[in-house]
């Protein structure tokens, strides 16, 4: 999808099918106003989100990445989000070591009924990313 206005930044969201994707849907159906920077990738479970998906997104030009799954104890597959929590926390702490601001990456839990919460998460996260501006990983001088 082309960027419609120059002001828009690229934010990628990985949403679990059972809760957060439903939550985003609820927000949409209820006509809650949301910023349009977010591009959603639906995944079966937050446990499916390899931390490397997030890294790949950043390296492919994303300015922010959001992962959202079912609340702890609520996972459709009973413990997928528990694994996700450990991995994503590890990644959140690793990113700044490489010089990528950890505020660019956020993970949270939104259930299918929490349309309003979803609206808040998206709005605030987008605001944070706009505050940080585009992510620049500069190319070094290549031989050849």
């Amino acid at each position: 999808m082309p960027q419609e206005s120059k002001k828009e930044l690229r934010i990628i969201g990985f949403l679990c099918n059972w809760c957060s994707y439903g939550g985003a849907d609820t927000a949409g159906v209820s006509r809650f106003k949301q910023p349009t920077d977010l591009r959603i990738v639906r995944v079966p479970c937050s446990g499916r989100v390899d931390p490397l998906f997030v890294v790949r997104a950043f390296l492919s030009g994303a300015d922010g990445v959001l992962v959202s799954g079912c609340h702890p104890r609520d996972c459709h597959y009973s413990d997928g989000n528990y694994y996700a929590r450990r991995r994503l926390e590890m990644l959140k702490r690793l990113l700044p070591f490489f010089g990528i601001d950890d505020r660019r990456f956020h993970y949270t839990w939104v259930s299918a009924s929490e349309g309003e919460r979803w609206q808040r998460v998206v709005t605030e996260f987008t605001k944070v990313i706009h505050g940080l501006g585009p992510l620049k990983i500069e190319e070094g001088e290549e031989i050849g």
Partner: protein
């Protein structure tokens, strides 16, 4: 040295294969030595140049083997056992208490890569003879960085032990001081540091293949076309991707043997990334890799209530 060969002979009678070291192409290079015949035992050595972590071969061996490990290497075995990568009954471990090894890369740089024809060690000094001259160094100045902050000079797991136990006075905080120091730099400096370092990468995958815990090897996602995780291009972002893959896949698994960094021909401080993750693992899960066979790597498990992971507010 007599003790070493005796121990190897003893183990060899039981296993028919012992992985140890012999002298390499010059006096400052040792090379892994697969003893499969009695006559090869004679060539085995242990000295300051025996830098390799021989455990790297174990998960792929389809036979019982004897193996020599230094203190740091022994943690690899424990990690293997935690992850079920080897069976305890398939290895006979000869542990060596170690006072540190030499950073051969550093030594080569010191003598400007001149061909070395002789080496003699006398107490704390080492004399290196190259084709054009002789130079003397303090041993401590050539010691590998990992040895200066070694907390496990004695093997943590072994069947036979060689050498007197060595005491280490290094604390956890001392071992991770470099990481804390690095993290004090501003974000932009950290990014430009890695841009410069990772920019040197030629993706020869020596760091990956020298890593005993990188067990995907031929199936590594850095190389497969499907999924297409990295492109063949040498752009910076692809190099970054590879190093992230390496670091993330070793989360809570890296035993800090430093083989990745030693293998790197262009001198990227690859181990730093892994040390950073280990530091977090300790903080989050009070877990240290390769210490206790019964531990479970933190990424292999979870708790319903995590004491240390708080919800992040926006």
């Amino acid at each position: 040295m007599v003790e070493l060969k005796e121990k190897i002979s003893e183990v060899f009678r039981d296993t028919n294969l012992v992985i140890c070291w012999r002298e390499g192409f010059d006096p400052i290079h040792a090379t892994p030595h697969f003893v499969r015949e009695e006559s090869q035992i004679e060539d085995s050595i242990f000295n300051l140049f025996c830098v390799h972590n021989l455990c790297v071969y174990l998960p792929f061996l389809k036979e019982k083997a004897g193996i020599l490990v230094k203190g740091c290497d022994s943690r690899t075995l424990i990690q293997f056992l935690q992850e079920g990568l080897i069976r305890r009954e398939d290895v006979v471990i000869i542990g060596i208490s170690c006072r540190g090894i030499i950073d051969v890369g550093k030594l080569m740089r010191e003598v400007l890569y001149e061909a070395v024809t002789g080496v003699s060690i006398d107490g704390d000094s080492i004399k290196v003879k190259t084709v054009s001259r002789e130079r003397e160094f303090q041993l401590t100045s050539l010691l590998a960085d990992k040895c200066k902050i070694c907390r496990y000079p004695n093997p943590l797991i072994y069947d036979h032990l060689i050498g007197e136990p060595v005491e280490s006075k290094v604390s956890w905080d001392m071992a991770y001081e470099d990481i804390r120091e690095f993290e004090k730099k501003p974000l932009e400096d950290r990014l430009s540091f890695w841009t410069k370092e990772i920019g040197k990468c030629i993706r020869c995958y020596a760091c990956r293949n020298a890593c005993p815990l990188c067990i995907c090897r031929d199936r590594c996602i850095a190389e497969t076309r499907d999924p297409h995780f990295t492109s063949q291009s040498v752009e910076l972002k692809e190099k970054f991707m590879f190093h992230f893959i390496h670091a993330v896949h070793l989360a809570g698994r890296c035993v800090e043997c430093g083989e990745c960094e030693r293998a790197c021909p262009v001198g990227i401080p690859v181990k730093m990334m892994k040390k950073k993750i280990n530091l977090e693992m300790k903080e989050l899960f009070d877990y240290e890799t390769g210490i206790n066979v019964d531990d479970k790597p933190p990424m292999y498990t979870f708790k319903a209530e995590e004491e240390k992971i708080k919800e992040h507010e926006l």
